[in-house]
Amino acid sequence: MASEIELELTVNGVPRSLEVDVRTTLLDLLREHLDLIGAKKGCDHGQCGACTVLVNGHRANACLLLAVSLGGADVTTIEGLASDGELHQLQRAFIEHDAFQCGYCTPGQICSAAGMLSEASEEGVALDAAEIRERMSGNLCRCGAYVNIVAAIAEVAER
């Protein structure tokens, strides 16, 4: 049984060539092999969204993707959203709006929001609070910081 497979993909703009056990999820690849520990392991079953990253520009749960299925993919994690030392506008808005308490869900919330804003923009949909809540329902916050999370995303959506 071929348990190790060679894999090439790009993570936060850096091409990577790895050999991984076929069972490795994208989340474990990021955290255990590439030391990118921003994406969090919450439920590990696609129910909480803490592991959300962007795969080829689309938000996805890294815990449900087998790394071996992602050959050639372009992955962006929370570590890759900031550029040239400047925080991403969603990161700034989360700080300004105090949109977290413990912070565990925050990387997933922000990556999900980044993907969600692109989706809404492609669809030409205006985002009011109710629409943001519906579209962000794949990201749970056990501290219950939703009010400020929605406010932070709404501010960026209006720009």
Partner: protein, 320 residues
């Protein structure tokens, strides 16, 4: 997770050859990978079909639509033709899962996803679907979310899909590499063999789902009731595709989700409604005709009332 062989199929033929040798098809993996983590399924080999050229949505010469098996749920939900001609399908897709999951999950994977019955997902418990003959703890256990139609003494699980409920009301057809099956004949009821869920033969590959042209003047809608506002499986859902002319229901196609081992086509309700005045009284009568056959379990009788109210509400919206 048990280890496995992994291969990416370069063509449909190659996938089918691997499938014939016992490999399990991997689409988006949003359900399969989860079940592998839980130990519910332990394939010896996966053949990745997610990059096969089955990701097109094509308009058919008949005015219908052919949807490739690997089209992502989010792409299907937002397709212009789907939104315009089959709003029930778009609404059902957007009512399901989360944005992250819809971006990855495929059409065929959605059809073939497994039940979320808590006993099926817990390998420490018996389950006739997972381990034939081991028993069904749900019958006397936590079955609030489970079936009121079509279940058996061996299994009371429900099919979790929203999309498939809309497809049932649309009389969709499922194409495999070798044949076409009506969606309403695609799923089998559990009876004695709950491990069998569809008519697919081992290794048979779903390649597309097709829809006929929308009925002239038809309107449609999908309505879903769940335990929280979003990102939750249906307690009960209703898909309606109906044509009303001069206040009379010409045709109505109705399917329920969250209440049966498959999308439940409500033929008795359709029959009761056809040719009747589009009125609250007719809608109530249609609901009663279907619900007469309901066989709620000890703790899910609330679903009967929920279906009644949701159906009447949805019909009122669609038939106005």
């Amino acid at each position: 997770m048990r280890s496995f062989d992994y291969a990416r199929a370069a063509s449909v033929d190659e996938a089918i050859r691997a499938g014939a040798d016992g490999a399990v098809y991997l689409g988006g993996g949003t359900n399969l990978v989860d079940l592998m983590k839980l130990g519910v399924v332990e394939p010896g080999a996966l053949v990745d079909v997610s990059r096969l050229p089955l990701d097109m949505i094509e308009e058919l010469p008949t005015g219908g639509l052919r949807i490739g098996a690997t089209v992502r749920n989010s792409d299907l939900a937002l397709n212009g033709l789907v939104r315009e001609r089959y709003p029930v399908l778009s609404q059902a897709l957007l009512a399901g899962a989360s944005g992250q999951i819809r971006n990855v999950a495929t059409v065929a994977g959605n059809l073939l996803q497994r039940t979320r019955c808590p006993y099926f997902q817990d390998v420490s418990k018996p389950c006739n679907k997972r381990r034939p003959g081991s028993g069904c703890p749900a019958i006397k256990g936590a079955h609030q979310g489970l079936a009121i139609f079509g279940h058996s003494d061996a299994c009371v699980a429900t099919h979790p899909s929203d999309m498939a409920v809309a497809l049932a009301a649309l009389d969709a057809r499922v194409e495999t590499a070798s044949r076409t099956v009506a969606l309403n004949d695609f799923y089998v009821l559990p009876e004695e063999r709950p491990e069998l869920e569809t008519v697919l033969e081992p290794g048979e590959l779903v390649v597309a789902v097709s829809l006929e042209a929308p009925l002239e003047g038809a309107r449609s809608a999908y309505r879903k009731v769940r335990e929280r506002a979003s990102f939750s499986f249906a307690l009960v859902s209703v898909a309606v595709v109906a044509t009303v002319v001069d206040g009379t229901v010409r045709s109505a196609r109705i399917a329920f989700g969250g209440v049966a081992p498959r999308p439940w086509r409500a033929l008795k309700a359709e029959e009761a409604l056809s040719g009747r005045e589009a009125s609250a009284e007719s809608f109530e009568a249609a609901a009663a005709a279907e619900l007469e056959q309901a066989r709620p379990l000890r703790d899910n009788g609330f679903k009967v009332e929920l279906v009644r109210r949701l159906l009447v509400w949805t019909l009122t919206e669609v038939c106005k």
